[in-house]
């Protein structure tokens, strides 16, 4: 499978879904898409036939507001149908605006920022205790790293030697009020995580080959967990949304959806 083409198709579905629902966190969805595509279509041992498999890999979307990207991929993978997903955010829909584990393929509920890393540590610890081969992946937002609880988890991961845990920080450098550096500076994220004892990899976060290589490298790293600082572009793939804090949770109009899809199709043709 051409993962880059898949990521473009997923982006088209995300933009369309958010327009249809009239709500969504489009900027962060588009920044995290490539990470999710690499995990779900290549790296992780997951699937609709494995939702109760004790050896399935575990995934936690700690930046739960980007659930549209996750839903879109889970639907495409057959955890539920694309038709069902059309009810997203509508009255009585089971598809709410943050991950919920009543939906097949979602492990835990998230959305309140700063929770996912600790939960993922628990999952990774359980694998160590039971000698299970699964790996645990968690995606944090960079704005999310303002939360103190993230750093409680950051202390614990290396303390327990969790080399079966891989953390992504979606470092798109924007949060709802502006740049992360203006709101609450976190450069150098790499130095901060390294000082907590993590194996730190810093990559261009919308580059599929770089993401895939980093995940492989994390798998080979023993004795400590890996954090991948994924330097992404918020709104990636749709030029008029890229690097615009205003597109954090703006809903595209029909004309904007058409323009976005045209641009994504052109990018796909150019692959």
């Amino acid at each position: 499978m051409d993962l880059r083409a898949k990521a473009i198709d997923i982006r088209k579905d995300i933009v369309t879904l958010i327009h249809h629902a009239g709500t969504g966190h489009i900027g962060g969805d588009l920044s995290v898409t490539d990470i999710l595509v690499d995990l779900y279509y290549k790296q992780m041992n997951v699937g609709p036939d494995k939702v109760d498999d004790p050896d399935r890999d575990r995934f936690v979307l700690s930046k739960g507001h980007c659930v549209e990207a996750l839903y879109t991929i889970l639907a495409d993978k057959g955890f539920f149908s694309k038709e069902e997903l059309q009810s997203y955010s509508q009255y009585l829909s089971k598809f709410i605006g943050h991950p919920n584990n009543k939906i097949a393929g979602i492990e835990v509920n998230s959305g309140s920022l700063g929770h996912g890393l600790s939960i993922a540590i628990g999952m990774a610890l359980a694998a160590k205790m039971d000698n299970r081969p699964y790996r645990t992946y968690v995606v944090l937002g960079d704005g999310e790293c303002d939360e103190g609880s993230v750093w409680e988890g950051a202390m614990a991961g290396p303390q327990y030697g969790l080399d079966n845990l891989t953390v992504f920080v979606d470092r798109n450098r924007l949060q709802i009020s502006g740049t992360t550096e203006d709101v609450m500076a976190q450069d150098s994220a790499e130095a901060r995580w390294a000082s907590f004892g993590w194996n730190v990899l810093s990559i261009p976060g919308n580059d599929m080959d770089a993401i895939d290589a980093a995940v492989d490298l994390a798998k080979r790293t023993k004795g400590k967990p890996t954090v991948i600082i994924a330097n992404t572009t918020k709104g990636c793939g749709v030029s008029f949304m890229e690097n615009q804090a205003g597109w954090h949770h703006k809903v595209p109009t029909a004309d904007q959806v058409a323009a976005a899809i045209q641009e994504l199709d052109e990018r796909k043709a150019a692959l």
Binding site: R58, N109, S110, H115, S118, G122, M123, A126, G148
Partner: protein, 308 residues
């Protein structure tokens, strides 16, 4: 006889962990105060120290439970029920992970350490979380009966216990326990005292004093704050003239509030509640504080006589 409930829980988990490898005990630098040293030494592979980090404690517990483990998170009730309340709400109750939150050194049992270390609002806070059960065991036998349920059931719960040894309410073999049903410590016809936690013993003593004076008083051990045993409350409302509630908790959102809400709707009855104040408590040990606010046997007798 008397025994600290934390020891009962730690000893029970030590035995259970031998046969159930999914049991995991976690603590937040609270190993000593949770009487967990023997457990930690015997079951190092089923013990997790998270340091002074209650949010992480509860989040990690939820992750362990999500992966099939049976975590018991042991931490001072004051911090567990407030600092990590959001993790209890989202990671445990909302995500429906089978975590048992054991709030130790609860209520005012840290005494003179003051309000930072007191948990006087935990029925209200933890009980208001959808899907989270709340239990305040009264003595070692009741605590053991609850633990037998907790190692095999599949729902999360918050349990609050005190720091000190508590006198037995139920002598060996005298506890007639059915999960989520109040225990009738003593039957009576004129007044019902409904108590929870350590204060059940004070209520029992008060009822004995009143009995010696010819007053027939029923005492209910409402260890199950959520789900509240509504049947026992309404039976008391119908069969006795008034209800006196006794709790080591603030006046808001606790046992008295729930009993009053229930009886007002279903069977209006005179209800009086003995509680801690809506304020930092006076300096002293638990016994001093209970006496100061009329929560000991003497204060309960006085309040009961005003109702009789």
């Amino acid at each position: 006889m008397s025994k600290a409930i934390k020891k009962v829980i730690a000893e029970f988990l030590s035995e259970e962990a031998k046969v159930n490898k999914d049991i995991v005990v976690l603590c937040s630098d609270s190993r000593g105060s949770g009487a967990l040293d023997p457990y930690a030494e015997e079951h190092s592979g089923q013990f997790v120290e998270v340091g002074i980090a209650e949010q992480n404690l509860v989040g990690i517990s939820a992750g362990l439970a999500s992966a099939g483990k049976r975590p018991f998170a042991v931490s001072p009730a004051s911090f567990l029920s407030t600092r990590s309340m959001e993790q209890a709400k989202v990671d445990v109750a909302y995500s429906h992970t089978n975590v048992k939150l054991i709030g130790i050194s609860g209520g005012v049992s840290y005494g003179a350490l003051g309000m930072t270390h007191h948990s006087a609002t935990d029925i209200a806070t933890m009980g208001s979380i959808p899907g989270l059960r709340v239990y305040f065991p009264s003595d070692q036998y009741l605590a053991e009966a609850l633990m037998k349920e907790f190692v095999s059931d599949s729902e999360p719960a918050y349990i609050r216990i005190g720091r000190n040894a508590v006198e037995d309410v139920y002598a060996d073999g005298k506890l007639d326990f059915t999960m989520d049903k109040a225990v009738t410590v003593q039957d009576g016809t004129e007044l019902t005292i409904i108590a929870c936690g350590e204060l059940v013993y004070e209520a029992k003593k008060a009822a004995e004093t009143l009995a010696a004076e010819g007053k027939s008083v029923r005492v209910l051990d409402m260890y199950c704050l959520k789900p509240l045993d509504t049947e026992a409350v309404l039976k008391a409302a119908k069969e006795t003239k008034a209800i006196l509630t006794v709790e080591e908790h603030s006046p808001y959102g606790g046992l008295g509030a729930m009993v009053a809400q229930l009886t007002a709707a279903e069977y209006p009855t005179k209800v009086r509640s003995l509680t801690l104040p809506d304020a930092p408590v006076v300096t002293g040990n638990s016994a001093d504080i209970f006496h100061h606010y009329g929560l000991d046997a003497e204060g309960i007798v006085k309040a009961a006589k005003e109702l009789l």
